[in-house]
Amino acid sequence: MIAYLKRRRGLALGAIVLLVLPLIPPFDQEDIRRWLVAGALFAGLAIAFDFTAGYINVVNFGFAAFSGAGGYASALVAIHFNLPPVISMFAGVLVAGLLGLFTGVLTLRFRGIYAAVAAWFLGLALLGITRNITPLTRGPLGLSVPTFLESDSNLPFYYIALGMMVVTYLVLKAVTESRTGLAFRAIGQNMEAARASGVNPTRYRILNFTLSCMFAGWLGAFYAHYYAILTPDVMNTTQTVQVLVIAYLGGRGSLWGPAAIAFPMIFITEWLRANLDRFPGLDLVIYGIVLILVMVYYPGGFAALVSALRPQGIRLICGVGRVGK
């Protein structure tokens, strides 16, 4: 345990900071705690997204739809079977996982961009279906969803989200550090070469999609039971774009980079949104420009920046542990 923590020094440090953060001013205000919840949620989503984009090199452009489908599944099970959200969430995991499995099987013959677009279309079809089967989902009117617990404070929700994020990170990190992770990287780099050296790309791609979508569905279920309302818009491409921006700014293929960048990103966008309401859209313009600048001049993102600075002893300040490898 001690050795494990030592190896994961950065993670442990980060987790401690995140644990006490909502208790210290100014982060103890309920408004800011809400941002923290969103930060943890998006950190988890970005990790699950990076697990696909950064390793097997396929941008799952239908990500939000799969996550949202998990949210709807969990919400519907909770409503119709009167189950507590903690249990119904696993319906979300199951549904999103099955969708991921289906996507994986469907796109297994496609190369990078085709797979991304196929996933996108599947997501759009899912969104359309969700919007149209109003008897079940109430469509654009929105579905009211029972919350985890009755509480005026965002604190318990924050710890649930944080816990889910950490579990997502630990599980996916463990996978990427295993032989399976090596196979992911191999097929992400060069599918033909991977196949030639005995890695079966099909199997690993399906596995990757399924795992990523399972966590997406789980986190989607949290979204549903936290915000207490679901509209088909949660499945929209713009939601995927938001996760994608965080994942790419954080640095793909690191898992921790997207998680680390999620909190400041959410804070900055929320702050911009709150303070620039005279200029609707300005926050997203800035968002987009930053994304373009990073992609053009520093495509490795935050994770690559930290790795580059590490020799100068920045490690402790950034609270970042070993990066894979």
Partner: protein, 346 residues
């Protein structure tokens, strides 16, 4: 790749393009024909007419998308925003020009409008290419397709919200370009604006085809798409050709946006539908296949109009997407795809 293997691959494809199309293509074409016939029998010829009009315009947007992917390997997610550039400049030009020229010259206003929109689209596209993709070409070689894809996502976000910031969320549209009464074909009344759109689509597509087929510039564009090193050796300035290609592609989308202004008023999110449709079309045709995109444009438009008539307009987007996924599962390179070129793979 060895010369022999390469020769064999190309040998297979040269035996008429149709030879390599297997059952799914025939099936899709047959289903399309069946939908067209049944649709016409049950709902009247307007299904075909509407399919033709929207198909011609979708084909424009999609051809631009296919061109940029074929030549520059950029999967452009911002193509819809050039449609928006076209709608906006179309609106600004037409509402200013139309009141000033009246009488016998009124017919000229829409033409001036779409030409200006084409130019503005080309200018914005060319500028973006120089500022962004030119920089990327100099810096990044690995993961090019995915990196540029993400960058175009960023461009799309900036353009949509920049538009909203400057022009707000109001709809800026016009009721019609032409005030003349509709003409009747096969018993269907077709608004002059739709006839105009069909004509613009036909002219633009023929123009693009002639440019690529016969012009020196078009030949250079094809050369860059087939072998960049070979193009360099022949003295072709690849960067310039790519900027021009991006400009042409954006111009086509803007032209489409201006042409359909009577149907799609300018507002921040107007580009989303053309984007979805163009991508559907391009995937159906096979990425980078400009000719296929035109055919697929009509197929998709026909499916959309019949879906919205027979099933309901809210399913108009769902059914084509589901269809595409099925077709892709059968033919991963698209209907008319010829296998993905080396550079496109990671």
């Amino acid at each position: 790749m060895s010369a022999v293997k390469q020769a064999r691959r190309h040998g297979r494809r040269s035996r008429l393009e149709f030879a390599s199309m297997r059952s799914p293509v025939v099936l899709t074409l047959a289903v399309t024909a069946a939908v067209a016939i049944v649709g016409t029998a049950r709902a009247g010829p307007f299904i075909i007419v509407n399919g033709l009009v929207t198909g011609a315009i979708w084909a424009l947007v999609a051809a631009g998308l296919a061109l940029v992917f074929g030549v520059m390997n950029i999967p452009n997610f911002a193509q819809g925003e050039f449609f928006l550039v076209g709608s906006l400049s179309g609106y600004l030009v037409f509402t200013n020009v139309s009141p000033r020229i009246g009488g016998g010259l009124a017919w000229a206003a829409p033409i001036i409008t779409i030409l200006v929109a084409l130019l503005v689209g080309m200018l914005v596209g060319g500028l973006l290419d120089v500022v962004i993709f030119g920089q990327m070409r100099r810096r990044i070689r690995e993961q090019w397709v995915m990196n540029t894809f993400v960058v175009t996502v960023g461009i799309s976000v900036v353009m949509i919200n920049g538009y909203q910031l400057i022009w707000g969320t109001d709809y800026r549209g016009i009721p019609a370009y032409f005030t003349a009464p509709p003409i009747h074909v096969l018993g269907v009344g077709i608004a002059i604006d739709r006839v105009f759109a069909l004509a613009v689509g036909a002219v633009a597509i023929s123009g693009l085809w002639a440019l690529l087929r016969f012009a020196r510039l078009g030949r250079a564009i094809r050369a860059v798409s087939q072998d960049e090193a070979g193009a360099l050796m022949s003295g072709i300035d690849i960067s310039r050709i790519q900027t021009l290609t991006f400009a042409i592609s954006s111009g086509l989308a803007a032209l489409a946006g201006a042409t359909l202004l009577f149907n799609f008023p300018a507002f921040p999110y107007v580009g989303i539908k053309p984007l979805y449709v163009a991508w559907t079309v391009v995937i159906l045709a096979g990425l980078g296949n400009v000719g296929g995109a035109v055919v697929a444009g009509f197929i998709i438009a026909l499916f959309q109009t019949s879906t919205s008539y027979f099933i309901g307009s809210q399913w108009e987007d769902v059914v084509p997407f589901a269809l595409i996924v099925v077709i892709l599962a059968l033919r991963p390179n698209g209907l008319f795809g010829r296998g993905v070129r080396g550079v496109w793979e990671q």
